[in-house]
Amino acid sequence: MREFTYTKAADAAEAVRLAAAGARYLGGGTNLVDLMREEIERPTALVDVSGLAQGITEHPDGSVEIGAATRNTAVAAHPRIRRDYPVLARAIVSGASGQIRNAATVGGNLLQRTRCPYFYDVAARCNKREPGSGCDARQGFHRTHAVLATSAHCIATHPSDMCVALVALDAQVHILGPAGARVVAVADLYRDPGETPHLETVLGPAELITAVRLPRAVDGAVSTYRKVRDRTSYAFALVSVAAVLRVVDATVADVRIALGGVASRPWRARVAERELLGAPAEPDTFKRAAEAEFRSARPLPDNAFKVSLAPRVVADVLKGLSG
């Protein structure tokens, strides 16, 4: 690990000032410390924001604001989250291990780096780690990689479970930067890889995620999260599905679907949603809509199974929610 200076931020404004002078933000450290040890990340200064906003605030308009330094466990355990946003509680406890969820912050979870093995292997070519060096995943082991919105330069996935639920819930991130505060939908936080896979989010220099806001839960809707992985626990997703569904008179009145393990970002399944809205809430409709989402998929030999697996999981999750 390279040397770095360490400062514990007293508040968000101080953190942004230090970051503007070159420091990197440190949350729970579960991803960044590991990457620093591998010298994939080489910050010379860290500003610790893990002691900042940790509260969960219930607003009068029915929305819920989660401080960015709230630990993953605290979010999943909060009675309001468990009652009104089960998809979020279930997504969080689907990820990592109890120990890691106790340390990992919400902001850090949003900004975690890919788990592509070629990103971690400094002897391999990786456009995300060394822009312009090439991508060894395309010709290598890529059964866990992305099939949607990939580019010739990168096929890595975003590894989070929590973020998939946040996208399905239309959550927003609150951001503080040198130029002031702004709000961005979680769905718009990430960039597709294109020719610049090392640029992963729309955050500008020194911008800090200060909170995540969940809009009021959809009245009468049910939601859940399902993760398909190589082993039962403590593994990243092959495919995961977050879904929020409201059925009225056997018709889909409201539906939000997001997918993990299939793209460089938590993927909002808008094609499927358009097909479903107003359609009969039945298995055939679910299957056709889910398959439509993957018409644009560009799989490689070893991850082509995701193009048939993911629609089946989506259809089954919707069937479970509607039944």
């Binding site: 040397e3 590991d34 468990r82 089960p86 120990q99 890691i100």
Partner: protein, 175 residues
Amino acid sequence: MAHEGISTAEVTVRVNGQSRSADIDTRTSLLDLLRDRFRLTGTKWGCNQGGCGACTVLVDDQRTLSCLMLAVQADGREVTTIEGLGDAAALHRLQEAFIAHDGFQCGYCTAGQICSGVALAGEAAAGVPSVVTQDLRAETVELSVEEIRERMSGNLCRCGAHNGIVAAVSEVYGS
């Protein structure tokens, strides 16, 4: 132990009820602070990348991977290691259960397993759900064998003593 050109910091941590301080290189992990500076070698250095759970300790009563936590982030906090849970003269009841159920072979993962087991009981009592919890609204979660298996999944045992580990945790904290 400051070296010229190396970023250092002074940390004070309450370890097993005792306040301890050290001047450290900022790169020091909590694991290395405990083992190398405080000579508390019960906590084990396994994968050093958050994959195995051998380094699990309690930080403010929360189970935490000490290999992924910078020691500077533990400043001012309360850390409990296996040495603080029990000793040969007065074993923790989970340690006794590990012996009774053959919850280990080589013993390398055991300190982490026991810290994890002690903490998961507190999490379930506080209503923290797991991926196998059916009723998300329950105020407390009953620790079935399935719940214990899931909640212990961050602690690997290369000897394969998992059945004994689950039996031990189940005897002490199970439903």
